[in-house]
Symmetry: C2
Subunit: 376 residues, 2 copies
């Protein structure tokens, strides 16, 4: 584990649960990505973790930002980001939010349907717009393909319409799904995008940007491909499909930049087999699905759990949160093995919890306070 | 709809989304339950909605309270509840939380395993304890049976042990699952409980209380049986299985008391078919699974949605929240029909949202503020 975080966790006086994030590690990941894919502009997906310490660090590195709401646009501005470096990437926006962002100087907006395009034309005249395509999400542990994106045919119609509405038809985007573990996921999507670039060029519209979305995976329980495998596949596909006319590339990493930078410190509230012969050892932590670990829904994201007992006998465990809610079970089918001695009062660490955790936390479910956060 | 709520919703100046709760309706439900099952003590399940206005009204009516955490115990005390009228009903408690509740005067604690019983014995000497049994949750739309409760055999061992540990082995509890629509759900559980009462009496332990948990359903899309059907089935089963030796009865309604008292006012952010032939009309609201509607997970709870267009053509709709999260879809499989004219900017009402909504809301996911709440 990260030595800065290890030292921080040694302070046993801090009440659990809490999240500690090493902001230097966020910088390390940012630089790594910048080095591997220098031709791309990095727009950090603020929703992954909107902590001011992270935003400020990324501003200092020259990052741009992908905002999901007017409130996230505001946060970026507060952190010192120039409005020109903010993309309003949610395809679902209130007219008032578009207007607020536009008045603050934001000029780049996503959409995936005519209704949204018309709202942007009304509220953000002359803005740059990009249309989100529906693409395959196979290989992603947290898919995004049902709710967002449109067909190639419709996207073509919409980009032509964008011009008619006085907007700047700037580019196309897609998202291969979050925690995407297949390095080939981007290729087909890039091919599809290139096809539409050509098609629209014939119709008199010269697009200039491809937004590859996010999706780069991080290490939870399982090893994942290194980032250079993704970036080289992407660079090759861009050259293959766009030839010597490669457009401006935007990427929107969230999980990849901040996930591995964070660790949650949690206390075991109770362990018991509850008198059920052949049942698992139930381990109830003081954080659960409603305290931030929302991505354990359907046991999708499998966090690595470190206990004070690295040696010794292990038993099959079911792992649940501290609330009275029957749905507050993180892992029951996933084969977790935990130490037989693990007991009430022990502290455990949940690794790679820097992204998509703190902001999901419920305000007060079962009376529990929101997750405490420390940025070091 | 409730006329008080209707009048409140007419104020179009309030920003959405918000929840409005008619506290008089909570009182109405409390009195109804009290009348139908006068032999039972009502312990309101605070987690359903911990708003001070609700707690204070229930205190004024003489209600007792079921708390899930030390923080919920504190809330009840702040609302004026006597400590003797509070049950610490979560079977998963930190030792420190037990100690805090005990010091504040709470004397009634739930458990379902030896490890928890020992914590209670250490932190709350002489307290009354009750053991939660595992029972069938068939018929419940929000089941609770995997995470909580123990076997009859183990419960017997534990109640004997409770006495050895200097605790008062007071009773037994179970939970037939939340939003339980079968009026027969309680019978088998009561029979099981009575069996253990007899068994323990032979072993020299006279239990004096049965906690029937919650579970009474409310009306969402579908009609549910009236409360008197549940209470009369319960009363009959208690007489049948306990004969002339009926113990003190505790019930823990949450949803039943506050669910129908609440309505959410939400704005349609976007509607679109996204160019997908034969696809549903996608309706994106400004509240979703992470803004409070957590019980739509797996499309379990199906809220009734009222639009400004009661007449006219309807189309199949998929209904989603406003975030960039692909999991933020409320209904895709459930056959919702919504008006063809429904569009961005329209206000809709989601009924029966007084329980298990506001407290589930995320602190800041995608930058959105927590749900505003009004108690009238």
């Amino acid at each position: 584990m990260n030595p800065k975080i290890t030292r921080f966790l040694e302070n046993q006086a801090l009440p659990t649960p809490y999240l500690v994030v090493d902001v230097d590690h966020v910088e390390y990941r940012y630089q790594q990505l910048k080095t591997q894919l220098p031709q791309a502009s990095i727009y950090y997906a603020v929703k992954a973790n909107p902590a001011m310490a992270i935003l400020e660090r990324l501003v200092s590195l020259g990052s741009s930002f992908d905002a999901a709401s007017w409130e996230e646009v505001e946060l970026c501005l507060q952190a010192g980001a120039p409005a020109g470096g903010i993309s309003f990437g949610n395809t679902i926006k209130k007219a008032s939010a578009i207007a607020q962002a536009y008045q603050a100087g934001v000029r780049l907006f996503a959409f995936d349907c005519l209704e949204e395009l018309e709202k942007i034309a009304d509220q953000a005249p002359n803005a740059q717009v990009y249309c989100r395509l529906m693409v395959e999400n196979k290989g992603a542990e947290w898919p995004l393909s049902r709710k967002f994106g449109t067909t190639l045919d419709n996207a073509k119609t919409l980009m032509l319409k964008a011009k008619d509405l006085g907007l700047d038809p700037y580019g196309l985007s897609f998202h291969v799904g979050s925690q995407q573990t297949s390095i080939h996921a981007y290729e087909a999507a890039i091919a599809k995008t290139a096809l539409l670039f050509t098609d629209l060029a014939h119709a008199g519209i010269d697009l200039r940007m491809v937004n590859l979305g996010g999706g780069f995976p991080i290490r939870y329980q399982e090893e994942v491909p290194e980032i250079d495998q993704f970036t080289s596949t992407i660079a090759q596909a861009m050259t293959q499909y766009f030839k010597n006319n490669i457009p401006h590339i935007i990427i929107e990493p969230g999980r990849f930049l901040v996930g591995e930078a964070g660790t949650i410190c949690s206390e075991v509230v109770l362990t018991s087999q509850r008198g059920i012969p052949d049942g698992p050892k139930w381990v109830y932590l003081d954080i659960g699905r409603f305290g931030g670990l929302a991505e354990t829904e359907g046991e999708a994201i499998k966090y690595q759990i470190e206990t004070p007992y690295p040696e010794g006998d292990m038993v099959s465990a079911a792992i649940a949160g501290p609330t009275c809610d029957g749905a507050d079970i993180m892992y029951e089918k996933t084969p977790y093995q935990l130490p037989i001695q693990l007991k009430s009062g022990d502290r455990v660490s949940l690794h790679s919890t820097g992204a998509y955790v703190s902001s999901y936390c419920a305000t007060k479910f079962n009376g529990f306070k929101p997750l405490a956060e420390y940025y070091i």
